[in-house]
C-alpha cells in the first residue's frame, strides 16, 4: 500500500471447522474444514469478489465474518474509527453494536423474507432492534430506502408473496441498508433470479458501491457477474483461497490451473467462440474427505509429486500495480506448486 488509509477489514488465518460426530456416543470423529486458513484485506469502498463452486466454503466464509457461524479460530479485524477490533472475539454487547456496520444480502428471494411480516415490518426490525430513530424518523427512513432500491413506498404494507423474485431481492437489499452499514456480504444475490432481472439488481448494487461507498464481499459462482462488480477477485477451492488478484489482472492472466479451468468452463453466449475447453476430470470433492497435499491435485492435469504430498504456499506472482487512479491495488497471489519460488 502506498498510502496510509487503513483497510476496512483484515481477515487473518480464519478457520471454520464443523465437527462430525459419531452416531452413538457423539464424540468428534472428524472435522469438515469448510474454511481453512483464509486471510485477506479489504479497503473502504472496495468490492472483493469471492468465486468458487459448491463445497468450496465461500458461503461459510461470508457467514463467519458476520459471526452467523462462530469462527473456529482466526481474527476478523474491523476498522472502527481507526481501531482494528476483532469481531471474532467480541462479546454479545459489542457484537450487537458491531452488527450495525456489517450486514448481509441473501441468495434466495423466496426464503430471505419472513412470509408473515409486511415489508414495512421487515425494514423496521433493524431500527427497532437497535433503538434508532423516532417513529417519524423511521417512517422517513423507510421511504428513503424504498426509493433507493427502486420500489414505491405504497407497497410497504404488502407481504413478500405479492412480489416477484427480483422485487423481493430489492427488499432484501433495502433491509441490509437500513442500518447504514460500511460492509455488506452479498451471498449469491442474483443467482436465483431470471436473467433479465439479474442486470437490474446488479446495476443497483453498482450504484450502492459508487454512491454510498459501501464495501462488499460479493460471493458468486458466476465469473461473469464477479467481473462486473468486483475490484479484487479471490478464487476458493475446498476451503482455501487458491488465487487472488485485482479483477482485471485475474481475468487477463489467470495462473492457477483451477482458475483457468473455471474461466474456460463458462458457456459463452457466442457460438463463434468454440473455446478450447479445459474439461476437468473427476468431481468437485467433498470437504469431508479432502485430498492430501494440494486439494486440487486429483483433477489437475499438471499435478506433480510435490502437489500430491505437500500443501502449496501462497506466493506473490506479481506485485501490486498501484497507480494514482488505483491506489488500492493489491498483489496477484497464487497457492500452487507450479509457482513456488
Amino acid at each position: 500500500m502506498t498510502n496510509d488509509v487503513k483497510p476496512l477489514l483484515q481477515v487473518r488465518n480464519l478457520r471454520k471447522y464443523f465437527p462430525v460426530r459419531g452416531r452413538l456416543f457423539r464424540t468428534v470423529q472428524a472435522q469438515v474444514k469448510a474454511v481453512d486458513d483464509v486471510s485477506f484485506e479489504l479497503m473502504p469502498g472496495q468490492t472483493l469478489g469471492l468465486v468458487g463452486e459448491s463445497g468450496c466454503g465461500k458461503s461459510t466464509l461470508g457467514r463467519a465474518l458476520l459471526r452467523l457461524h462462530e469462527p473456529t479460530s482466526g481474527e476478523v479485524l474491523f476498522n472502527n474509527e481507526g481501531d482494528m477490533t476483532d469481531v471474532a472475539s467480541m462479546d454479545k454487547a459489542e457484537l450487537l453494536k458491531q452488527r450495525r456496520e456489517m450486514q448481509m444480502i441473501f441468495q434466495d428471494p423466496f426464503a430471505s423474507l419472513s412470509p408473515r411480516r409486511t415489508v414495512a415490518q421487515t425494514l423496521l426490525e433493524p431500527l427497532e432492534t437497535h433503538g434508532i430513530g423516532t417513529a417519524a424518523e423511521r417512517e422517513d427512513k423507510l421511504k428513503e430506502l424504498m426509493k433507493t432500491v427502486g420500489l414505491r413506498p405504497q407497497v410497504l404494507h404488502r407481504y413478500p408473496h405479492e412480489f416477484s423474485g427480483g422485487q423481493r431481492q430489492r427488499i432484501g437489499i433495502a433491509r441490509a441498508l437500513t442500518l447504514n452499514p460500511k460492509f455488506i456480504v452479498a451471498d449469491e444475490p442474483v443467482s436465483a433470479l431470471d436473467v433479465s432481472v439479474q442486470s437490474q439488481v446488479l446495476n443497483l448494487i453498482k450504484e450502492l458501491q459508487e454512491e454510498q461507498g459501501i464495501s462488499f464481499l460479493f460471493v458468486s459462482h458466476d465469473l461473469a457477474v464477479i467481473q462486473h462488480v468486483s475490484d479484487v477477485v479471490a478464487v476458493m477451492y475446498l476451503g482455501s483461497i487458491v488465487e487472488m488478484a485485482d479483477a482485471g489482472e485475474l481475468f487477463a492472466n489467470p495462473k492457477h490451473p483451477y482458475t483457468q479451468a473455471l474461466l474456460s468452463a463458462i458457456p459463452v453466449p457466442d457460438p463463434k467462440t468454440k473455446s478450447k475447453r479445459i474439461i476437468l476430470g473427476g468431481d468437485v470433492p467433498s470437504p469431508m474427505n479432502p485430498p492430501t497435499g494440494c486439494p486440487f491435485h486429483p483433477r489437475c492435469s499438471q499435478a506433480t509429486d510435490a502437489c500430491r504430498s505437500s500443501e502449496p504456499v501462497q506466493t506473490v506472482v506479481s506485485p501490486p500495480d498501484t497507480t494514482d487512479s488505483a491506489p488500492d491495488a493489491g498483489p496477484h497471489t497464487v497457492s500452487c506448486h507450479l509457482y513456488a519460488p
Binding site: L68, R99, Q107, S112, L113, S114, P115, R117, T129, H161
Partner: protein
C-alpha cells in the same frame, strides 16, 4: 438514481391478497369442510346459549316420570329419575365446549412454546430435556396418568383438564419441533440474526407465526380428543365431577340399557358423534386449505 427501475406497478395496484385469504378461498370450496364448520357452529351456538342461561336450565330438575317416552314435552324422554334427557344432552354441549376449548387452547400454546424452543435449540440441552420429558410423559398410559393427577388434585374441578393438557401438548410439540428444525435454516431467520435480533424474539416473532398452520389444525384435533377422552374419564368416574356431560350420561345409562331403556344412551352418543364427526371434517378441510405448499 436512474437505473433502479420502478418495477412494482402491478403490485401496488393489485388487490390485497393475504395468505389467509388464499386459504379461506380454498377452504370455501371444500363442501365437506363447510358442512362440518356449519354443524360445529350450530353446536357452539347451543353451548353459548346454555352458558348464558337461555335454555336447558332445567336439566337437573326432576319433573317427569321415570323412563318417560319420547313426547312433545320431553323430546328424548326422561331418565331413571325423571329428568329431561334432551335438556341434559344440551347442557352437556356446554361442558363439551368448555373442556374442549380450555384443553385445546392451553395444550396448543404449551406445545407450541415447548416445541419451538426444542426445535430452535435442537441438539442442545434444552432440546434433550424437552424431548426426554415428552418421552417420559408419553410412556405413561394416559388413563393412569389422568387418574393419578385427578387423585392427587382431589376436589379440584379442573383436575381432568389439567391432566389432559399435561399429555396433549406433546403431540403439538413434536409437530412444531419438526417444523421449527426446518424453519430455522431459512434465510429470513439468518437475516434476523444478522441484524442482532435476540433468539427469544426470533422464536416468538418469526418462527411461531410460521407454524400457525400446524397450530390451527392441531388445536382442532386436540379439541376432539379432549371431548372423546372426557367421555371415558367421566365413565370411569374421574372426569366431570359437577354438572353434566355426555360421558356422565353414558355412564348413567349403562344400568338403564340393561333394563332395555336406550334413550339416554342414544341421545348422548348421537350428539357426541355429531360434533366429533363435524369437527373432523372441518379439521381435514382446514389442513388442506392451510397446507403451505399449496398456499404460499
Amino acid at each position: 438514481m436512474n437505473t433502479a427501475v420502478m418495477t412494482d406497478n402491478t403490485v401496488a395496484d393489485a388487490p390485497r391478497r393475504t395468505l389467509w385469504s388464499k386459504a379461506f378461498y380454498k377452504f370455501r370450496r371444500d363442501r365437506a369442510g363447510m358442512l362440518g364448520l356449519g354443524i360445529v357452529l350450530v353446536y357452539a351456538f347451543v353451548a353459548l346459549g346454555v352458558w348464558l342461561g337461555l335454555w336447558a336450565t332445567g336439566w337437573a330438575d326432576v319433573t317427569g316420570p321415570k323412563w318417560g317416552p319420547v313426547s312433545a314435552e320431553y323430546w328424548f324422554g326422561t331418565n331413571l329419575i325423571g329428568q329431561d334427557i334432551f335438556a341434559r344432552a344440551l347442557y352437556s354441549t356446554r361442558t363439551a365446549f368448555e373442556v374442549g376449548l380450555v384443553v385445546a387452547i392451553l395444550s396448543t400454546i404449551i406445545g407450541a412454546v415447548f416445541g419451538a424452543f426444542s426445535g430452535y435449540f435442537s441438539g442442545g440441552i434444552t432440546d434433550e430435556l424437552i424431548v426426554w420429558l415428552m418421552g417420559v410423559l408419553d410412556s405413561i398410559p394416559f388413563y393412569l396418568l389422568v387418574a393419578a393427577i385427578a387423585f392427587s388434585l382431589g376436589d379440584n374441578p379442573y383436575a381432568m383438564h389439567i391432566a389432559m393438557i399435561a399429555t396433549f401438548w406433546i403431540g403439538t410439540a413434536r409437530l412444531v419441533r419438526g417444523e421449527v428444525i426446518k424453519l430455522k435454516e431459512y434465510e429470513f431467520i439468518e437475516a434476523a440474526r444478522s441484524i442482532g435480533v435476540s433468539q427469544i424474539v426470533i422464536i416468538f416473532r418469526h418462527i411461531l407465526p410460521n407454524t400457525m398452520h400446524i397450530l390451527l389444525v392441531q388445536s382442532t384435533i386436540t379439541f376432539v380428543a379432549a371431548i372423546k377422552s372426557e367421555v371415558i374419564l367421566s365413565f370411569l368416574g374421574i372426569g366431570v365431577q359437577d354438572g353434566m356431560s355426555w360421558g356422565l350420561m353414558i355412564s348413567e345409562s349403562t344400568l338403564e340399557v340393561l333394563a332395555g331403556f336406550f334413550n339416554n344412551f342414544i341421545a348422548a352418543s348421537l350428539l357426541m358423534f355429531g360434533l366429533v364427526m363435524a369437527f373432523n371434517m372441518f379439521s381435514d378441510a382446514l389442513q388442506d386449505a392451510l397446507d403451505p405448499r399449496s398456499v404460499s
